[in-house]
Symmetry: C2
Subunit: 148 residues, 2 copies
């Protein structure tokens, strides 16, 4: 969220993404939106964050085209915040965070929420980077080609 | 980085991950470490961040087991920060952020750095969530099963 940028940040897609969603609250709001949450009060209760910070983050996410507002689906005066297509495509990011957490931040046997395939009722398989021939890809087999 | 947690955060792997890497600086330090950076001064120049904040973030990443310190490989007095296996496995998260940025945060034709498969010299294919039968998986076909 800070203004300072490295020389390469303009051309680095990681840095641009992180400038937009690289803070705890924004990522948790997006997670909650994926879980079907849409109202200010629900986000506030879920995240326990100050109203002014929540308001700021929702505003930023709308500005960034990740959430959009619409009238409440029940006809009440509430406004709802829903993921746009651009926001929906953060699914891969949120899933990567989830799977890294599952693998590294829980003790063996410690219970945690799981993401389930509705069709099969089974957990989603581990997502992994693949080369164009379908082989698994380690970081060591990749390199960043900078824009000259 | 804030201390407040929702009722579900204890059992949500996304929240635990975000508590550890969900801030701009930590994610950019990890990105730079993937790019081969290892020294305080190099991170500092790359990211243009205040020394005390960089020092804090490096310390947190070491505490979290994402980076580890070692003596400089050239025999000098410098200390190096290198990714642990746990840190290396953030590759999927960083790649997801990169690919989301590439898809959504650049104008058509705007140049950006690319992640290349060293073996083929080609960009890494788009990573996508898959069901256990290999079919593509949309967010709408999944649900979170909370720990009761």
């Amino acid at each position: 969220m800070a203004g300072h940028k490295s020389m390469n940040d303009e051309s680095c897609p990681v840095a641009r993404s992180v400038d937009i969603v690289g803070d705890r609250w924004s990522l948790l709001i997006v997670r909650d939106a994926f879980d079907g949450m849409s109202r200010f009060g629900d986000f506030q209760r879920s995240l326990g964050m100050a109203r002014n910070i929540l308001s700021d983050r929702l505003h930023r996410l709308v500005e960034a085209g990740i959430l959009e507002t619409r009238a409440a689906s029940d006809g009440s005066a509430y406004q709802e915040y829903v993921l746009t297509a651009k926001g929906e495509s953060l699914f891969t990011v949120v899933l990567a965070l989830r799977q890294w957490g599952e693998a590294h931040l829980f003790a063996r046997g410690e219970r945690h929420s799981q993401l389930i395939d509705k069709r099969t009722g089974k957990p989603i398989p581990l997502m992994a980077p693949k080369a164009s021939d379908g082989r698994g890809l380690q970081h060591a087999n990749t390199e960043v080609r900078k824009v000259s």
